[in-house]
Every structure is written in structure tokens, then in C-alpha cells.
Symmetry: D2
């Protein structure tokens, strides 16, 4: 292989363009050489924006018509497995967006295909590459707060997900689409797998927005008992309107660690003493995790070039999916669910 | 009655002295005229500190030997009911520390005695008198964040509770002793009763501290489903070592409201660029809720003088106890428990 | 003397009522027994509010008609000297608001009268009693930041001062009326006197507000060279509209110390992701220095009862006046002015 | 010209490597093709790190031996003029670090050479490209705080400058080396030139560090009167030890704007309730202005490719030098100095 990884981006929507931006501007070892999107207009616009002429409406066409080393899959969840397996079978390295897939069976197929063909399979948990999250992880590992006892992680996002993103069959809903990052983060930071899950959900905004998706919910609180004996909580709200909010708190035997803030910029303006002063908030995940996205792409490219195993593996993606499945079973049956029941 | 309320303080330990301080320094309408404590040394020291000569080792003796209008009960939980009922039966107004009592039956006796004798019965949920909590409540009521969808409240306290405070029969343990405030706050701020509770607990520090209390736990996460359909979470950690931590976050249909901070003073010192800068943290609940304690005592005195019903009633105290009982049943049986099962 | 200090409040306007509130609610050792105000309506209203029947339109009348131990002087600056001297000559202890007086000659008369009659003379620099300022002072004294090299102190206040408060003859203007606290604080915290002063002023809002006071200015930046060799800066803005802002930063040889914040409450609300989230700001000095006002009154009462010298003396008040005089000479002559030129 | 700008980096020390990093990782339109450094070891190390084989010990050699479009000059201040003029005369575009030069005559030569040869001359005031500073500027321009009345800007840096950086002839000392950014920022944000300057300096740490540079100072406070009538203050401390600190506050007729914070990461750890919790601080300017450095390089490359005038010009650099010269004259003569005296 040359010293540059040639990449085909599959899915050129909003999230896809975040990855395109990383490749084009900030990861010199990666070169965006082909684009795939089922929608010709989106595809053409992305091609124009990133100066990529090789444009295809399917991965199969791209494999046939362009030369590349890796794919970045940024499509709806229910398509991940088939795309990843196709790419791996063609010997392409795979970076796939979260959630990894809809079921554990799909995850297993993806992991199996990657292993069979010796390609990198990285799940796009960009929080693991956020400088603040990484610093937090390292400080826990260094023992600063002692043995972790409790973790709370939240992801509140501003806008209503698209129909497939709230369809329990196509995506597993909000706990998968929005909270996948939390599922991964708490397991990573606590260095322990989930043992038992309890979930409560609520639907506050669906009716007013004309959502008729069965089992739709826009609020969730999940309780987690870890194998280590520690406790955890994940909360999800989407749409929350007020901004993009992703924060983690961990208490260990020695003390407290907080990671993240809603403050989007260290700028304040005060002009009304009856109201107070105003601080910008993170509007989107792209703003909040700007360096996380860049760093994860640089890591993916580096793993390919160096032949190394990525820091976020298919196994990690599979665990996050398992958590979602247990939580879903929990709120459907109104009881705590052990991971052993779904894995 | 004169324009001053004469008060007998029952229990002159650390928490009792917080109330004595309010009476002596900051609530001119209240006059501390008698002290009760079973321990003569503690009693004498408090008498000396506050200049109160009427000192008794039992409430009965105080009732016989001193003239006062009200009692402030700051003793172990399992003694609250008997003391409050005795006081009410003697026509004395009652401010009783949280948790109100060990069982709902005890709560009912206390409420009944107060009603029968037409005395004020106020539960010492000082957070309701904290200027920040009050501002948060008013802003929710004013509709600033829309209909509340989710609340999270935490109380993490620094030190190991005394033996009775972790004895499930004498106090109901940490969820009662430490988290009573959260139980009350979430109900107050959400303006809805709990419907269903799920609790997970853990014991991380008991063994190292030689705690052999049965069912001891020092970490808890509680999930709440409110009658309104909203979701909630309470977390408790004690001992947490790192300070006193009491914060609340509420998300409504329109946005986010955060109340409280761990920052104990707006003072920072930075002398080590490899480490960072240091900000004081609240060391104790007395520091965090300094105005809350003063304001609740002023409210108690005012209610007595004006013949008004207190803002925090026996019913409120009873609900907090009910929540603890449901949570305890939940972690014992590893299942969600509806309030209807315990009330 | 009895164990209670009987106090006559001279000046029952907004600032006077802050002191009345301290006496009536939070300083049990002090008793507000008489009120003086030249305006009968203001006087009657304060009498009603604080339940004080002994009301007079002059200090002389109060001295003749009421029995008290001390006066608290909260009147326009140009009246301080005559009132304080009258009170001291009558053997009354004196707490006088800042600025101490208009000239050093007046300060000397006040100091002399207090010394002659052996009464306490305390200047109302309440920042010295603010818990955060006190903590900062103690940490500097403890050597946490090493030898102080630079200090910056600011006071920005919301509203236009009254006519006498911007009249250079009756008050010395904004640097005296608003920034007296900074003059005192920097000298206290740096533990060094000013040696040389340079001041720049500006008038941005006078014209639009119809201010025709000669030499009116609403913005000022003062540079200070201390006798210790350290540097300092004071800034004043009044009216600033956005709230009450009083903060200090000190850098010592070892590091940074910041005291104070504009945040008026640890409460935030976020409902608009394009704008950000909103934090309450201190609206007034009364809010910002609530404990400072209470503590300074408690200190005054305690000094009287114990016969001790107050922590803030006439000498301190005199130095603040000297700083203002040097700064005024500086901006009038557009050159740095040494304190030796005015003292 | 091709669609890529070929760049020669002159000066491969710590600051030079920040720019190399931008070019190699984050500015795809720029290609680092040649390196110049007088020190062969430094040069070779940088060549190895960035994979640049064309290495020279002088700009003249580089001009003769390599093909490039632009130079980035990151050498001691006293060398800027000669290097920039040489480059411009050879038709190369120039990005030169601050301070622009030692004297206004040097600035004029640089501006003249760039104009004569039609090349871009950009001064590396990276704060103008910091997202927070840019947002602040835009909000002022949008009128959010009304007409600016007062600005305060500070730069406190951790380490002792090298000998040339404190030599008044080779660099003009700290107000130039450390505070150039403040000189530029206040002029930019206030949209007004300086009219009158007063400076106070102090030397606290020189002796203990064995500094024998004449006129050495490590603390400075500068007062500024702007042509607009507004007031300003700049403070410099170097070495300050506690981190890298660069913040700005502006008060306009309508309110307050603060830009920047010492918080280096939204991560806190609390393990000691007697001490408080710890927040990372910015250790270096590279951390604080990470995006500023990337964005300024992207802007330089874009201006070259599009033939546009840079947002930070030689005139801007010249004004910052003029401010330093006026401030230096001020502290030498202990009097305020008008810009007209030095320009």
C-alpha cells in the first residue's frame, strides 16, 4: 500500500460531510477518492464541495468503478451490516457510524467478515477521541479518583430524528441513535461490562410533531449495574431543542471527575441585569466533538497504514447494541433485564 | 402569643447547632430558650455556646421545666415520631429534621397529632428555602422551560453516617438520611408525585471502614416515573469524600434548567500549570445551604406568628418516606415498585 | 455598657436600609433604636418598616432625644465629616459609609475626634468582610501565590449616581463614590500603599442623560505603582447597566488568584440554541455583598462590645481618599501624580 | 500558480513547528517544501519530523535551491525585516511572526517591499483567527454591547523569554514579545487607534533568575486612550508560571463582553474537600490558540490563491510596534506619551 489511504465515503448527508471534511482538510494520510449516495442530488453536491469526481449510487458500483482502500459508512443503521460486509469481502477497511447495526447477529457478521479478510473494522465512537474524554479516561486509569463507583452519561440532541431513526426495526430508536455514545463511553470509562439494565421511557413531543412511529419515545433514563459492581445512568432526550448536550460524571472511591460542559465558547455577553448574561451553547455534535471527529479519522487511517488494531472495535460496537437491546426489552417488559438474556 | 416565638431545641449535635445558629443570629422573631440532649456534655457545651441556661436531658423534662412555643427536633430518625407527637400533644409547634420518620404509620401519627392540636408541623427540607432552588422553582412555574420532562437530583455527602443512620430499621439508610432532600425536591420541582421506582445500590467502602450493618450501601441510583409521565433520577453517594454535592437538572419541553454547583466560593488559585487551577468546593451541607437553613427557620417562626400553614408539610415529609420505602423494596426485590404497593 | 449596642442610623435611603436590615435581622448584638433623615417621608417609611419609633430629622435632635451608643452614617459624602465629628464628640461610636470624606482635612478631623473621645471609627468597606475577599486575603497572606506583583480591581455599577455623587466638590465623583472599595481593597490585599497614580477618564453617557455636572466622567482606568514595587489597576464604570460587577485579580510570583464573579446565582436556563444559555448576574451591590454587609455590622458591634480596634480604620478611609485625590489631579493635569503631592 | 501554495518555513524552533504542523496536517492548500534554520541540528530534526528534505541554513540558500511561493518567518524579531524584504524582493508572499519588527522604519521597509512586488504580507496575529475572538469581534460589530467604552486585554506567559527577547534593541522586550497580540487585539476590537499611552513596569523575577539585560521588566500595565475617546488597559506578565493566560473584556454602552478563559479543558477532578477541585489551565499559547494558528495559515494560503488582501496587514503590525514604542518611551520618561510623538 502507498503512504496514503484512499477512501470511499458511503453516505454523503450531514454526518457524512463531517467525515469528508476531516479527510479533506485535517487528515493528510487519507484521501477522499470516491463518493456513494443513493440520492443523486446529494451525491453531486458533495462531489462538487469536496472536488471528488468518482460518484456512485451504490457501493457495488463504487467497488467496480473506483480504486480505494477503505470505506467510511455513514448511512442509516439498518444498512450498515450489508455495506460493511460487502466492503470487507472486497478487502476494504471499514469505519462504520454508530450504532454498529440493528442486531447482534448483524454485528457478528460484520466482525466475522472483517476478521476473515484481515481488514480494519472501526466503529465511529468519536467521543473516545475527544481530547477531554481521553484526558478523563487517562486520569481514571492513573487512579486519580480511585476505583470508579458511579457514572452518569447523557446525550441530549436538538432535532427530531428521521423516520428510520425512530423506527424500532430500522434503528432501535433513540437509545441507539442518540445514546450509542453513552453506551460505549460508560463501558470504556468504567472499564467494565454492563450486567443488568433498567430503562424508563417517555414520549412528550411526538404527538405535537405528528410522529406516528410505533413505540416512539423522546426521553429515556437507563440504570446500569456493571459487572464490577459499579452503578451507572444514561439519559437521552431528543429532540431537546436547547442545544447539543453530552456530558459525563464519574465518582470513584477517591473523588469526582466531570467531563464536558454545555458551554460552546468562552464568550459571554451581558446587557440585561434583570435577565443575566448569555453564554453560547454547543448547537450540534459537530461543534462539540470537532476534534473527536478529526482524531478518529486520523486514527482509522493510521491503523490502516500501520496495520494496527483500532482503539474502538467491532466488539465495542456490539456491546453498545447489546445494551440497547436489553434496555428496550426492559422498558417493554417493565423489569430489569440482565445482559445474559440478550447476548 | 407574644411577637416572639420561644423555641426549645431537641438535639444539640452538629445539625442542631445549625438551627441554633439561625435562631440566635438570624431569626429575630425566634428565641432559643431551652435545649434538650440526652448527652449531658453535648448539652452543656451547646448551652454555653448559645447562652441558654434551660437545659434538659429529655423533652418531657423540658416541657415540665421551661416555657416555650415550639420545638425543633434534630435527633436520630427513629425518635422523630415520639418526640413530635409528644410536643404536638403539649401544644407545641414542630419543626422536625428529615427524614420525617421511619414508616408511613409514624408519619401519619405525627400529622394526626399536629392537626388535632392545631400546631404547625414543618419538615426541615431546607432546599425549598435555598434562594437558587426557589428561583429554579419559580422559573419552572413561570413556564420558562415548558412542561418538565426529566429531572436529575443528586446528594453526595462527605462522611460515613453514624451507626443508626445506616441501620435500615432506625433510619432506612442512605436513601433516607442523605437523599431525603432529593425525594422532596424532585416532587416539588416536577409538581408531580412518584408513580414507579427502581433502585440499584452498591457497597464500595463499607468493608474497608469496618461497617457490618446489614444491607449497608453507600451508592444508589434511583429511577422514577412520575404520575405526570415525566422521568427522574436520584443519586446518592455517602461517604463521597470530595465535598458536599447537591445539584439538580431539569429538562422541560422548551429547555434546560440547572440549579446548584459544586463551587463553594468564587475564588480560584492557579500556581501549577501542569495541574491546573483550584476552586473551593462546598465542604458541608451547612455551607451549601447557609441561607436555606436561615430562611426555613424564619419561615417556621413566621408561620407560627401568623398562624399560616408551612410551605413544607407533613404530607411532603410522608411522600419522601414513601419514596424511600418503595426504593428499598425495589432493590431488595430487584424489580420496579409502584408507590401503590407501599402507600 | 449593656451587652447590646444601641444604634442610631443616620440616613435611611437605600444604602441606609441595607444597614438597618443587618441590625434588625442578622446582628443580635446591635439594636436599631433611632433613625435620622432630613426627609420626613423617607424617615417615616423606614420607621414603619423597621419598627423604630424614635425618628429625627437631624443628628443633633437624635442626640438630644434618644439614648444610643453608636451611629451608622449613610448620608452624602460631603456631610460625613460634620456628622461623624458631632457623634464622636458626643461619645458615640461611628460606622461611616465610604468615601470617608471629601478631603484629607476632613478625614483628619474625624480621626482626631474619634481618638479624642475614645470611640470606634470604622469605615464601611464591606468588601473586607466578604467571605470571598477574606479568603483571598488569607491565601495571599499564607503565601499561596507568593509575593504579589500585580492587582486589578474593578467596580462597575448599574445606575447614574445622584447629582451630589458626581459633583467633584461634594463627593469627588465616580472614583470616590464607586471605586472607594477598589482603592481600599488593592491597598489591603497588596499590603502596600500607593506611591504613584495615573488616571484616564471618559464621559460616554453623560450627554444622553442630560448630565451637566462639570468634569463628569463615567469611565476611568487608574494605574497604580505601589510602594512595594508592585503594579495595580482600578477600573470604574457607572452607569454600566449590565449589573453590579466587582472583581479582583492578583498575580504573585507563584501564581494567580481571582476573587469574585459576575454570576449572581448558580442557576442556568437554556432554551435557545442559537443564542446560548442564561445565567443570573448580580443586579446590585447589596446582592453581591450580602454577607459583607452583615459581617461588617457584626464586626462594628463586636468591636464596641469588646473595646477593640476595628479591622478597617480611619487611616484606611483616609488612604482611599488620598488615592482619589491623586487620581483626580492626574487626569486633570494629564500626568502621573505621586501620593506625596497630595498627602 | 498551481492550486497549492508551496511554502518555505524560516525558523524551525518551537513556534516554527506550530506553523509547520498547521501546514502539514490542517491546511491542504499549503505544502511545506523547504526549511530554513541557522542551527543545523534543529533544522535536521524538523526536516525529519515533517518529511521535508529541502533544508537550508539561510533564506538566500533556500531561494537559490528550492522552488516555493511563500515564506513563513518565525525567527527573532530583529531579523524579521531583512528576511521579509529579501523574500518579497524575490516575489515570495510573506507571513511573519509578531512583533512585525523592531522599529517603524523596518515596518515601512517591509510594507514597501511587499507592495512593490505585489506579494501578500500578513502578520501572524493568530488571535484574530481564534473562533472566540472572531465571535467577539462580530458581536461588537453587530452592536450587541453598543459603542465600546473600555477594553482590557492581558497576556501572561509561563516562561522567561530568551536573551534576545528581553533585549530592548533586538525585540523591544516583553510589551513587544508577549503583548503584541494585545496591542493588535484592542485596536481591532475597539476599531480605533491609540492616541495616548501610559505604562508602568516592574521587575520581580529578574534578579533571582540571573537576568542582567538592561531595562529588563517582567510586569507591565499600560493605559490607553483611544482616538474614539474609549479607554483601554493591557497587562503583561512573563514569566507568570501559572499557565498561558490571554483574555479580553470589553464594556460598551449597552453591556459587557468577555472573551477567553484560563480553563484549558472542560474536565474537573475533586478529591480533596479542604482544597477544592482542580481544572486544567492552558499551559501554552499553542494550546490556547490551536484553531487560531490553523485558521491564520489557511487564511494566508487562501489569500495567496485568491489574490486577496489578508485580514491582518503590515499596517496592523506597524501600529502594534508603534504602541510598544510609545509605551517604552512612557515608562522611560514616567509620563503619558501620545502616538504622534513616535509615529
Amino acid at each position: 500500500m502507498s503512504s496514503v489511504v484512499h477512501v470511499c465515503l458511503v453516505g454523503t448527508g450531514r454526518a457524512g460531510k463531517v467525515h469528508a471534511n476531516s479527510l479533506v482538510k485535517h487528515v493528510p494520510g487519507g484521501q477522499l477518492v470516491a463518493l456513494v449516495d443513493a440520492d443523486p442530488a446529494t451525491l453531486a453536491a458533495a462531489g462538487e464541495e469536496y472536488g471528488v469526481k468518482a460518484q456512485f449510487t451504490s457501493l457495488e458500483d463504487a467497488l467496480a468503478g473506483a480504486d480505494f482502500d477503505a470505506v467510511v459508512i455513514v448511512t442509516p443503521t439498518f444498512t450498515h451490516c450489508q455495506l460493511a460486509v460487502t466492503a470487507a469481502n472486497a478487502g476494504k477497511h471499514v469505519l462504520v457510524e454508530k450504532p454498529m447495526a440493528v442486531s447482534l447477529e448483524e454485528c457478528d457478521k460484520m466482525i466475522g467478515a472483517a476478521e476473515s479478510h484481515g481488514v480494519v473494522l472501526q466503529i465511529a465512537f468519536m467521543r473516545r477521541f475527544d481530547p477531554e474524554m481521553m484526558a478523563g479516561y487517562e486520569r481514571i486509569q492513573a487512579g486519580e479518583i480511585g476505583k470508579p463507583m458511579m457514572i452518569k452519561s447523557l446525550s441530549h440532541g436538538p432535532g427530531l430524528p428521521p423516520p428510520w431513526g425512530r423506527d424500532m426495526k430500522k434503528s432501535n430508536g433513540m437509545l441507539a441513535e442518540v445514546n450509542s455514545h453513552d453506551w460505549d463511553c460508560v463501558r470504556w470509562l468504567m472499564d467494565s461490562n454492563y450486567e443488568r439494565i433498567y430503562a424508563e421511557i417517555a414520549n412528550f413531543k411526538g404527538a405535537a410533531r405528528g410522529v406516528d412511529t410505533p413505540e416512539f419515545y423522546d426521553n429515556a433514563i437507563v440504570s446500569i449495574k456493571f459487572e464490577s459492581g459499579a452503578l451507572g445512568s444514561i439519559s437521552g432526550i431528543c429532540p431537546c431543542e436547547y442545544g447539543y448536550d453530552g456530558r459525563v460524571e464519574i465518582v470513584g472511591e477517591k473523588g469526582l471527575l466531570q467531563i464536558g460542559d454545555i458551554r460552546g465558547q468562552a464568550v459571554i455577553v451581558g446587557t440585561n441585569r434583570d435577565q443575566g448574561y448569555i453564554t453560547p451553547i454547543y448547537r450540534t455534535w459537530g461543534q462539540r466533538f470537532a476534534w473527536g471527529y478529526i482524531n478518529e479519522m486520523a486514527h482509522f487511517v493510521s491503523c490502516i497504514l500501520k496495520g494496527e488494531r483500532p482503539r474502538v472495535t467491532g466488539e465495542d460496537g456490539r456491546w453498545a447494541v447489546a445494551g440497547v437491546l436489553a434496555a428496550t426489552k426492559s422498558f417493554r417488559e417493565a423489569r430489569p433485564v440482565c445482559l445474559s438474556e440478550v447476548m
